[in-house]
Symmetry: C2
Subunit: 245 residues, 2 copies
């Protein structure tokens, strides 16, 4: 006979952690904002403060919360483990992380675009064109096209016939979106043109063209993120030097 | 006030699932073997059969168990979600999956080896050489070198300065080991020579050499997995045609 009862205390912490996550997503408490303090949360959920501490600790480990000493507990990400199975949110330095993610996309996606040329079916070609059109329509209407964009890249991964990249691409691409609030509207022309070039090349089975178009597409994004990162570093330096005056 | 009690039934299933996983790992019940039937498990864990069914269902979803109708429930993987955060074990057709994983390594690791040349520190160079030596010693002594091999490749990823590949490489490389019982002893000469070439090139900062050595290294593995996959497909065909006689 196993004894499950002894686990109940641990499990209560897990349940409160789940409820706390729901609270953050439901309110919502946005990234950068503070959650209520321990007393308030203990009252809210009708549990002891030690349970709240355990729940907070759980969300800290998952990269959702950050405890800043003397200042309170802050939401640093709302990316749940389903969307972030690799726990990328744990890694600090979000701008650098976005650049690292782009470097990984640079290794994978041009090859994937080339592979798709040899594997894509007629139905998949029609779907590719449709997704390319949908992203363009959203973009031109000023509606957020981010998740449709991830769908476009994921579809290309699917067309490559490699199930591992089909899993990886949405994980990596969604992470980029989470870490850098890239005002991609600045890249509208470049995005639409390179998306179209990728689509046309894959449809024609032109693997060199598909690969090259994907390199161009990713590099526009990478340059933009690099620029944001470098500005961020300069701001930090300026803050440091003004402190020292 | 939140009501946590109502969740207890669900949680009991989760707890039994955990215990069942511990049982599989502890016995151990190896991949390809059958677990005891529902009656036996219900008695063993002191719970009802519906709870056992729930626990089994949980492990099926996680790619650990497979229910074969009329034959029983089999262990198909022992890779837990911590080791397999992308849920690769879910995907069927293990030999094909191993090949797909190798294709992803082919996209990532040569680039990573080249990047490592520009980022590696003196201490990291010493550690790289040490890991290369350790893999060689284990290999020559006939001791299982698999996890040390993953460590060698993960260290190179770490030396590249990209934290995303540092997370990805052990996930992908461990998965390859789980899915194909590659009798790598056949590749001893090739593995040791290419590991050494990768190490020496990175230490010298020769990025083209490091990249090329990594391509060679991975391709020896890929060719072997391809051979196993093709033999497996032939066996299946033969079985099918002997059924039709």
């Amino acid at each position: 006979m196993y004894q499950f009862e002894k686990m109940n205390k641990k499990l209560l912490g897990v349940q409160v952690e789940e409820e706390l996550m729901n609270f953050i997503l439901g309110e919502p408490v946005e990234v950068g904002r503070k959650i209520p303090n321990e007393f308030e949360l203990a009252e809210k959920f009708g549990v002891g403060r030690s349970t709240i501490r355990e729940a907070v600790k759980g969300l800290v480990t998952k990269g959702i919360l950050e405890v800043r000493r003397g200042a309170g507990t802050y939401v640093v990400s709302t990316c749940t483990s389903e969307e972030d199975p690799l726990g990328l949110a744990r890694l600090g330095d979000r701008y650098k992380l976005a650049l690292e993610l782009l470097d990984v996309r640079m290794m994978l996606e041009p090859e994937i675009a080339a592979m798709a040329c040899g594997h894509i079916t007629q139905e998949e070609k029609a779907r590719l064109e449709q997704l390319c059109n949908e992203v363009e329509q959203l973009y031109r209407s000023g509606i957020n096209h981010a998740s449709k964009d991830v769908e476009f890249h994921t579809h290309i991964a699917k067309c490559s016939g490699n199930r591992v990249v089909e899993i990886l691409i949405p994980v990596i691409n969604t992470a980029v979106l989470t870490f850098v609030n890239l005002t991609q509207r600045q890249l509208m022309k470049e995005t639409l043109e390179t998306h179209r070039a990728i689509t046309d090349s894959i449809k024609k089975g032109d693997s060199v063209g598909a690969k090259a178009a994907m390199v161009m597409h990713l590099n526009y994004n990478r340059q933009k993120i690099l620029q944001i990162y470098e500005n961020h570093m300069k701001d930090n330096e300026n803050q440091e030097s003004s402190k020292n005056i």
